[in-house]
Symmetry: C2
């Protein structure tokens, strides 16, 4: 009997502590999810950001308003530190005039659902009227060459592949045509480009997004048309090759202006010099409300701090939300953040980005050492009850990637991607497309991970 | 050298076949997903069912139209067998009149967003006008007793708990008040009941659903009001306890009528007597379009057969889609299906139900032996690339549960539940709430599972 008792005691000592700890962690994680799912702060923050401020491209009055709003939200949370971090941003301004018209001037002219791509030059008041030539890709552009392209409007019509499960892969296959299409077409003397919107969805929304020029190649105007308009234009071209298109874009680029990252912190009780950073980006494209891209990431990462406060959990390390400015155009906020962190020798234990839409969270994509990936995987059973099943080594996000060179482990929240490109960079990216519970689950998932990283180190 | 070659050959024989097979299976599963994600048949089927036929409670002309439509869809697929299976169904008819009014007859009267619960008796033309008494649950009802309840309208206001990750659990905690609230309140002489809609969402949609009487207890009318109306009524009662409500419901129950399950099959090439059945239910509540509940399950399981045909895969076993009639009211289709299967000694290898909404699929809930659960889990890596990560022992669905007594392994497709009860049984359950890709993924997940069960037996 005694022997049995003795053995039991040893077993108890050997195994009870980790089990107890695991139970404690389960309970803590449950509290994060319970509180997040029962509290509407983040959803109401998103409502304000989307419906009262709206689309907010960097350098715009709306972006400035969003900076002040973020600061006020953080100021009202009773954090230890709240401050702005200055950065210069480009100031591209969409004009009132952005039309792409088939058969311009004719009675049966067809105005397409179109928008200027971000960064595009304007067309001048009269617009550009020219024959259209459709290409599927750069190979076709090259084959046609200057002889066929010069002076024409190039229509790049490359549908996204719906067969990818992860829609970012489909997007990755076509986004390049938006970014570099004008540059490539200009090599052959094109007058302008029209690109099929970078989405799998078949609807009438044009999707904008950044495009780039090269200094040595003529800058030509670039517009996107909706996928249904692209199908329509393509079928019109079947019957009437070389039909005429008129593009009018009154967008322009003003001088650079001042903007800010917005930062808030709960200071660590034991290791204040070790920072766990998490954030989303405050700027958004101007033709929607910047709901899923990336209002949700902003309010979710602010919510992480609210959750620690609400649950009265004092972190050992410093928890820092970074509301990044200018992800969409030139990532200036990200650069300034990384530069100043390097200058000030900030020790980032981990950096987490939320910028894949505010849909149901599935897990984390981890750009870190194998040991760190293994560490995060060891917490899987704590998060699995909340649908967080994916712990993959992989890429993170644009706003934190500059921290990589300092050896910071980077992590991206992975969410359900199926609906994301229905909204992305389009007028459809509005508050009503965000489900409250899906948003809340994302906050809790990040908070849970931050809790574990803080508790056990990383 | 020879020896090495010999050993290599043995290793090849020992290990190459299963590896080769796994690769083959991966490829087959990929084809199901590729095809499903690239084909719009199921989405267009759902569009027709929801927008051309609409809400279709059993016994209604719409349900009859849906039966004929399903049969035509299956007939046009070139299957081996298509037939109807007769069942008698209840015929509850919602009236034109369904109002719940606070302060009736007064100038500042407030009409609430309300609907009759399915199966409720009507109120007569004049309606029922009485004082309201709010209760949270049956304990409170019991505490108040006949003395306080008699002649009054009982308002059961029990909010669903948002803290559950899986929203069916939240629903499970409150649906009973809808089903048995009238019966329980009638025990204490209540004149009628009004219940808070069984959903976590805070909006103005009333959610209907079946309710039951007992033969020995007086049948009193029962209506649901939206959750925001419930909050409003509750706050009005704080200021003005016992305020008056008028309920008018012109619903009624007509004699039972004939309806049908609709069945389609691809006959097995090797074991035609072994049936893998899968289905959803065709009937729906009448105040929406029956999109997520359960138009999606119907078109997804029909799609499984289309996928096998499109990929030219000849199953060894018989694949059978069962489009069930009357899940919502009395599960008569399910009973007839199970009874006739028993009578005819049909050997079901597995039965799969899709009735948890057409959102992103996560996996399967498996009501089967441990060995069978293990078998399905062994296929996890084949399905994980498509987000199918959950393979849990658990309940299945109402339409296949009667097959349990014959020892049939039962399986339910588990989908993302976060948005489901925003729509469930309400006017919001419409076609536009279904995302095409999420729908397609569900079909492919079931088709993939059916493929593996057919190939390896079960």
């Amino acid at each position: 009997m005694r022997r049995t008792f003795f053995l039991s005691a040893i077993f108890y000592l050997l195994f009870s502590i980790p089990i107890y700890s695991q139970d404690n962690d389960s309970l803590a994680i449950k509290k994060f999810f319970d509180n997040a799912l029962s509290d509407t702060t983040s959803y109401n923050n998103l409502r304000f950001l989307c419906t009262r401020i709206g689309g907010r491209i960097c350098g715009s009055p709306q972006a400035e308003k969003a900076v002040q709003w973020s600061r006020t939200v953080l100021d009202n949370m009773g954090l230890d530190t709240v401050y702005l971090q200055k950065c210069m941003v480009r100031r591209w301004v969409r004009g009132n005039d952005e039309t792409v018209t088939v058969y311009p001037g004719q009675k049966d002219n067809i105005p397409l659902h179109a928008c200027a791509l971000g960064g595009s030059v304007g067309t001048g008041e009269k617009g550009i009227k020219a024959e259209v030539i459709e290409v599927k890709d750069y190979d076709e552009l090259k084959r046609l060459g200057t002889r066929n392209i010069e002076g024409k409007i190039v229509f790049i019509n490359h549908p996204a592949d719906p067969a990818f499960y992860y829609t970012f892969s489909a997007y990755g296959g076509v986004a390049g045509f938006r970014v570099f299409g004008a540059l490539q077409a200009a090599r052959y003397g094109a007058a302008a480009v029209v690109v099929r919107s970078a989405t799998i969805a078949h609807d009438w929304y044009p999707h904008t997004g950044i495009m780039h020029y090269a200094d040595t190649i003529k800058k030509i105007p670039a517009a996107a048309i909706s996928t249904l308009d692209a199908d329509l234009l393509s079928s019109l071209l079947q019957k009437d090759p070389g039909l005429t298109l008129l593009i009018r874009l009154s967008c322009k680029e003003d001088p650079e202006t001042v903007s800010y990252n917005v930062i808030g912190e709960i200071r660590g009780s034991e290791y204040p010099g070790e920072v766990i950073a998490f954030g989303g980006h405050l700027d958004s494209w101007d033709i929607g409300q910047g709901a899923h891209d990336d209002g949700t990431g902003v309010v979710q990462t602010i919510e992480v701090l609210r959750l620690f406060r609400a649950l009265k959990i004092k972190p050992k390390r410093t928890l820092r939300v970074v509301v990044f400015m200018d992800e969409e155009v030139d990532q200036r906020g990200a650069k300034v953040y990384a530069d100043e962190a390097k200058r000030d020798h900030v020790k980032h234990i981990a950096a987490i980005e939320c910028d894949r839409g505010g849909t149901t969270p599935f897990g984390f994509s981890i750009d870190a050492s194998d040991d760190q990936v293994k560490r995060i995987r060891s917490w899987k059973n704590l998060l699995l009850p909340y649908g967080i099943y994916m712990f993959e080594k992989g890429g993170s996000g644009v706003d934190i990637r500059d921290l990589k060179s300092a050896g910071t482990p980077l992590i991206a929240l992975v969410t359900d991607s199926q609906r994301y490109f229905d909204f992305h960079h389009s007028p459809a990216d509005t508050f009503d497309k965000v489900n409250q519970r899906e948003l809340q689950l994302g906050s809790a998932a990040v908070a849970g991970l931050v809790f574990l990283i803080d508790k056990y180190g990383f």
